[in-house]
């Protein structure tokens, strides 16, 4: 028998803490696959956020640091600028970490053209803390802190990070993808590979936004959560590359 698909080598052989059906697991695997393919496990450093994916360090055979909520891009800047230029630094953040408390950090890293790779998981709520309103929560979406549905007058509009990032000259690549079906997963993987390759070629700041589900906090079944991403989130957050090639 010839292998078609095998688990990435750069990942630990470990059951994750993520809820059943959570897309974090798929996104982790895509990163693992890309790191294997590019052969950079021995020189990649990961920067973890505070949120559901704070445990990401446990799932990769990589050097990792866990930094304060929202500050991953700043810490990544410190790491990147102190290590030899062949080292690869990536941040992994949720929407609360990146688009709320850490918005200044991600914008300034982008504007500096910091040569790092930012993986941004947008699941339209604060997962770890139990499903509160996030900057990317959809209009009308009910969360534990928008029990009557998100209202423009009260909570403003959902934040479009991938488009926002594409406006900075320092940004080499900014795109939004999803991982709710095989076809989307394959193109998301290509985007993540591009984002890491850009860093290897010193092209500056690359960010991949990935729409993701959150069945537990949305209080829906796994398959309904995938439908929500495909129909509701994608309607608000169009997929595509907003800056950069490939």
């Amino acid at each position: 028998m010839k292998p078609v698909y095998l688990r990435p080598q750069s990942m630990e052989d470990r059951i994750t803490h993520y809820c059943p059906g959570c897309h974090h697991g798929i996104i982790h695997r895509l990163i693992g696959e890309v790191i294997d393919e590019l052969g950079i496990r021995g020189k990649t450093i990961g920067v973890a956020p505070i949120g559901c994916s704070v445990f990401i360090y446990a799932y990769f055979k990589l050097d990792f640091v866990v930094t304060p909520h929202g500050r991953a891009p700043a810490a990544a800047t410190g790491i990147k600028r102190s290590l030899p230029s062949d080292r690869i630094v990536f941040t992994y953040q949720g929407d609360g970490d990146l688009a709320s408390i850490g918005l200044a950090e991600i914008i300034h890293a982008a504007n500096r053209g910091e040569n790092i790779t930012s993986i941004f998981v947008n699941n339209a709520n604060y997962g770890m803390t139990g499903g509160q309103l996030a900057p990317t929560t959809l209009l009308g979406q009910i969360t534990t802190t928008s029990p009557y549905g998100r209202k423009i007058a009260v909570d403003g509009y959902p934040f479009h990070i991938a488009e926002l990032m594409s406006n900075f000259k320092g940004v080499a690549y900014s795109g939004r993808f999803a991982v709710y079906d095989p076809k989307k997963i394959i193109s998301a993987r290509k985007a993540i590979k591009t984002a890491f390759k850009n860093q290897m070629e010193g092209k500056g700041f690359s960010i991949v936004e990935l729409l993701s589900n959150c069945p537990i906090n949305w209080r829906v079944s796994v398959s309904d959560s995938i439908k929500f991403v495909k129909e509701n989130m994608e309607a608000e957050f169009p997929l595509g590359v907003f800056k950069g090639g490939e």
Binding site: G42, V47, Y57, T67, P68, A74, A75, G78, R81, E105
Partner: protein, 355 residues
Amino acid sequence: MGEKVLIKGVEAIAESAIRAGCRMFFGYPITPQNETPEYMSRRLPQVEGIFLQAESEIAAINMVMGASAAGARVMTTTSSPGFSLMMEGMSYLVGMELPCVVANVVRGGPGLGNIAPAQSDYFQATKGGGHGDYKTIVFGPSTVQELVELTYHSFDLADKYRNPVVLLTDGALGQMMEPVIFPEMRKLNTLPEKPWALTGALNREKNIIMSFEMDPKILENINWELQKKFQKISEDEVKYEEYATDDAEFVIVAYGTIGRIAKSTVKALREENIPVGLIRPISLWPFPYGVITQLVPQVEAFMVVEMSAGQMVEDVRLAVGDRRPVFFYGRPGGMVPSPRDITEKVKQCLSMLLS
């Protein structure tokens, strides 16, 4: 021995750090320490170092965290409001056991306050302004030469204990020019090895640097290990200066800029044959409780002088207990008492003691 250089305190911090092998600086403009980032922005590129002005003090301390996690000797400088923004970072740095040097050039507070010299961040620096049980070594220099030596020494201590070190100074010393002699430039290949650093897990186990532990049993143990570290520091790293205490019956306790002014006061009073002495804490944490306690039997009273409403006075009271009166003379808000002001206060206290 290098030759004497006339230099301002805040610039001396930068040059001394570079002599200590610091090659990375992340900071943010805030008076009265702007000349440190400015100096670093000129000087670091000359020694293949990295200077970056961050978008905020919060970003700055997290850049320091990243660089330190990658094994670099790194520092930042700020002033009171900025230091407040760095408190979460300080707690994380201690929990992550990351070495770095942070200078706080203290200014009048609270709130926006002003840019005049003050010592009102003593509690924040020595008792910990961040969350959790943590300590950082804190030094209070009183001359630019001492600032140079303590800055240089801080980098070795930070690496030795894998813990941040704080230089607590103020706008007076920071903006004052004095002739100093800098230590020789440290060769980078003599800096301590950091196998724990994040450099890419090539042919080795991965390194994880974090302060995160969900299991209380384990986090308690981590805390007790940290406390052992702090205990060791308390035993080995206390620094202070005693001046004219042998026969002193009245002792002033003051640090930093006020420690220096108080020394002039003691000299003046000694000329009037008034038996006054000075204890000048140099390490504010670990605080020199011992030397103060030892003086209690021979002394009538102590007087603590601070540019604040009274913070270090509490530590002096801890050392003295209720065995002797501990007077306090404080000037918050950026006021700097003169030697004459302090002399008057000492005489008032002495007359009170006699009556």
